[in-house]
Symmetry: C2
DNA sequence: TCTTAAATAGGATTGATTCCTATTTGTCAA
DNA sequence: TTGACAAATAGGAATCAATCCTATTTAAGA
């Protein structure tokens, strides 16, 4: 990601914080910068270890609390998992997920065919849908290859 | 659920265990019986507390390990969550989920319109899809009502 | 500046899961 | 039916994740 693009997104992020009456702290900006440059779907611990390089005194609690705050104001998503630590997704645009059941990898994909997953009428009346996602479980290519070795 | 239906499913379950060279222990059968009669999506701890009534000496580890074993042989599903303890689903037929972001409730639904979620060709070549599910995040009626009180 | 509520650091606590090991038990073959 | 053995269990210890607690620091508006 270009420095220019990072700066642009940080500016937008700061806007969002202000709109929600959140103080702009160096820790929050640092965490946000790590997040948007991280490999997809990091855990709080992973973010913590990376941020620690820039802020050696930062605590895990701050990172974790901050990530939850970011989720609340819509700066990131908590993604669905099948157990294990929470995982966060800085990509809040519509997309779908493949979950490898063997290695736990989550792979993003976009697909025109799922673009308008209409919500059944019966549900729309009793449930307020905020986001929709197709989750495909299975085996990624690496794990399929490994299985065939036996 | 009728006793007859339970007996039928237990027989099928025992078949499945045999196919996978798993021993038929009273604990496994007990856990399976609790599972198919439980409210949907119980945690290991919930299953443990119920099974404990019939097997006072059973350990949490046995319940938890057994549930994982059941998932491996396809007797149940581990369902997607957004953090918190693992949750298991005895309903392995195709269905979809609503997740209430406020109370964490998971509501099953079936929908004709999602019946044939075709897998994009580009993905089918590199990823072996085993199950597909639409996950809708939002607010259930109870939580929507609560929010409007403020 | 000054004030104040919000945020942070760091350690303690809680909760969930897995690991370890001695003991028990289902299964299969004799 | 019995004996042998690998698999499974019980119970406690250890690990990992998340949250709580509180003294201290800090961002932001007056």
């Amino acid at each position: 990601m270009q420095n220019k693009e990072i700066a642009r997104r940080v500016r937008l992020f700061i806007e969002t914080c202000r709109r929600h009456q959140l103080k702009i702290t160096p820790q929050r900006v640092g965490i946000y910068r790590v997040l948007i440059q991280s490999q997809r779907h990091p855990t709080a611990d992973l973010v913590f270890r990376v941020v620690k390089k820039e802020f050696p005194n930062i605590s895990f609690d701050t990172v974790n609390r901050t990530l939850s705050t970011f989720a609340e104001i819509g700066v990131l998503d908590v993604v669905e998992t099948f157990g294990g630590p929470k995982r966060f997704d800085p990509d809040i645009t519509d997309h779908h997920h493949l979950h490898c059941m063997a290695c736990g990898r989550i792979i993003d994909f976009e697909y025109e065919g799922y673009a308008r997953l209409e919500v059944p009428k019966a549900i729309a009346t009793t449930f307020k849908v905020i986001s929709r996602r197709v989750v495909l479980k299975g085996l990624c290519d690496t794990c399929t290859a490994k299985q065939q070795m036996f």
